[in-house]
Amino acid sequence: MGQAGVLKRLTFYSEHNYGTPRPEVPLVVHGPSGDSPPLYALLDTGARPSVFQVSVASLLGIGDVTAGQPSTLLLPDGSEPDSWVFPAEATILGHRIRFDISFCPAFAPTMQNVLGMNAIGQIIFAIEHANTSVYA
């Protein structure tokens, strides 16, 4: 290998130590009726949509998830279940961003919330998984 050099210098304002086998981070969703309690979601660079548990919808004041914009997801098994999309605003790792949240009733109820690239693509962050830390 050649001599190491600085390719790009990034500035991070915080470090979050998630301490789990996967990079899961806390977030707060800002809704019309106020802020949600802290929730958790997986940073998933392999997904474009952000998909949350249907159970979370009611917490965010969404009584009927099918009232959202209809869409579908493509799951690893090739299935394309229906989903419904809602615009949202949330604070993730100190960054307040707007993104769409999909709710998919076909998602197993034990699946973790997923933050896809439509959300985390707005944040400059780095994962140092050896120390279970994410910088943002």
Partner: protein, 120 residues
């Protein structure tokens, strides 16, 4: 502390925050490392994100929590479970009724290692 990673030098400092995480009567101290790449940055205001402490606590007690609440949602403040339910709202309402509307909501895996098999 100064570390070098991939040719970049970053300076790491430690700060302490006092977190009034109820219902504990004593305040607890939570630490967060702050990473800076600019020596000229003015004293930044960085606090642990809400839910950070609960996430760490849950991870340390995950086996115990799976045994008690596997597959359910729990509402946690500090190191105390204040609500549990089959959905997030149910756990939240229980915590809220006990005076903790901002208790973190955690989905407990149904069984040990369940999430290790997930592929998205």
């Amino acid at each position: 502390m100064e570390v070098v990673t991939r040719g970049c030098t970053v300076t790491m400092s430690q700060r302490e925050y006092r977190v009034g995480a109820a219902p504990a009567t004593n305040q607890t101290i939570e630490r967060e490392r702050v990473t800076l790449t600019s020596a000229s940055m003015p004293n930044p205001v960085v606090r642990p994100a809400p839910g950070t402490r609960e996430q760490r606590w849950f991870h340390e007690h995950e086996t115990e929590m799976i045994g008690q609440y596997g597959g359910r949602w729990i509402a946690v403040s500090g190191d105390t479970v204040l609500g549990a339910g089959n959905d997030a709202l149910e756990a939240h309402e229980q915590a809220k009724a006990r005076g903790f509307p901002n208790a973190a909501l955690i989905l407990v895996p149904g069984r040990e290692g369940e999430w290790d098999k997930l592929v998205f």
